[in-house]
């Protein structure tokens, strides 16, 4: 992937031991960049994320409105959007809370649901490994579906010099736009929920199902994926009465096993 002219493979260690060599453009250190260029990239990152933000607005608002009736306090809902910052797992946590699930199961489910973010960081690691620890931590924290889609698209269209110098500033613009919007929408949703206490009867809870249906659809392009989804659906009904909502994890893992086996077997035949 990365054909960066960086002679050392152990980037992190050598950056500390050889500050002179790496203080040029290869490190992308901010003090070397004029403020105008930094602002330009932050703004570009923000602008590129706007379509994703528009899509996230209804989810953020619905999350906020559903929080209280699911048993999450307003403060808890805001804290979740500030600290967890992962839309679908926040929704799932609400769904589990609503049926009285305990914290440990919710945390374990969050782990499974957010495992897909490993893919995102795997895809980005070559393009951000020259950055400092705090930068990489910030990039990790903001690695939502939306910001990943935005930065991955930009990286694909850019050259090595851009990646070395600007990638983190562009990302910062994308991340902060998503983040600010998500927190704001959560607050708006909570306010709406308090203004209209019967909002739970408006069928907003179906919004989550509709959203997830829309999110699954793009995956249904291969037979292994189709098998995976069918197994997940059937298993989820069969395991619905398992204690602590463990059925979700059992179903997801068996579907994953079936899908992966199908994929590996059909590839071996070719």
């Amino acid at each position: 992937m990365s054909n960066v002219p960086n002679p050392d493979n152990c980037a992190t260690i050598s950056m500390i031991t050889q500050p002179i060599d790496t203080n040029n453009m290869a490190t992308g250190e901010d003090q070397k960049l004029p403020r105008k260029e930094i602002l330009r990239e932050i703004f570009a990152g923000s602008r590129a994320t706007i379509p994703m933000v528009v899509g996230a607005i209804p989810f953020g608002i619905i999350f906020g409105t559903l929080a209280e009736q699911s048993g999450l306090s307003p403060l808890g809902a805001i804290a979740m959007s500030i600290f967890v910052f992962a839309g679908s797992s926040q929704f799932i946590a609400l769904g589990l809370l609503a049926v009285g699930t305990g914290p440990l199961i919710i945390i374990a489910t969050t782990f499974i649901v957010n495992l897909r973010h490993l893919l995102y960081s795997a895809a980005l690691v070559d393009d951000v490994k020259h950055l400092s620890g705090p930068w990489r931590a910030l990039i990790a924290f903001g690695l939502t579906d939306e910001s990943f889609a935005t930065i991955a698209d930009k990286i694909r269209k850019s050259d090595d010099i851009w990646r070395q110098k600007y990638v983190q500033w562009f990302y910062l613009g994308s991340f902060s736009t998503m983040y600010g919007n998500w927190i704001l929408c959560t607050v708006i949703g909570i306010t709406l929920g308090e203004l209209f206490p019967d909002i739970g009867n408006w069928g907003l809870d179906f919004a989550m199902s509709a959203t997830f249906i829309g999110m699954v659809r793009p995956y249904l392009t291969t037979r292994p994926m189709l098998a995976c989804v069918l197994v997940a659906g059937a298993m989820s009904l069969g395991t619905a009465n398992m204690p602590h909502k463990l059925g979700l994890m059992v179903s997801a893992l068996s579907a994953l096993a079936v899908g992966l086996s199908y994929h590996l077997i059909s590839r071996r035949k070719k």
Binding site: N9, A137, G203, L237
Partner: protein
């Protein structure tokens, strides 16, 4: 208290997943089969959430009938999703359909 614990735990697992590979800065690479396996995670998890929510709207028994508004609306959402291939349209039409079925039934 349980709420704070839950949020702290969710934060910890989410951040760890997102950070572990970036922290290692390329020293640890991901085997190809694991990447393939991860591809199956979102549809598996999401489907396992949708199906009971839609077929068991009251949480106890499977309601496979024309009286089940969420089942009917889910069918609409699936059809719209397959035709329009657009997330926002799927959500909006799915929700309108749900409201309509609920009002009618």
């Amino acid at each position: 208290m349980a709420e704070a614990l839950m949020i702290a735990g969710m934060t910890a697992v989410t951040f760890s997943i997102r950070y572990v590979l970036l922290a290692s800065a390329g020293h640890f690479t991901f085997p190809a089969w694991a990447k393939t396996a991860l591809d199956f995670v979102p549809p598996a998890v999401l489907t396992a959430i949708i199906v009971p929510a839609v077929l068991m709207p009251n949480g106890d028994d499977i309601e496979f009938s024309l009286q089940n508004a969420s089942l009917l609306a889910a069918c609409v959402a699936v059809i719209v999703g397959l035709i329009r291939k657009d997330l926002l349209t799927t959500i909006v039409i799915g929700m309108i359909a749900f409201g309509l079925f609920k009002w009618l039934l």
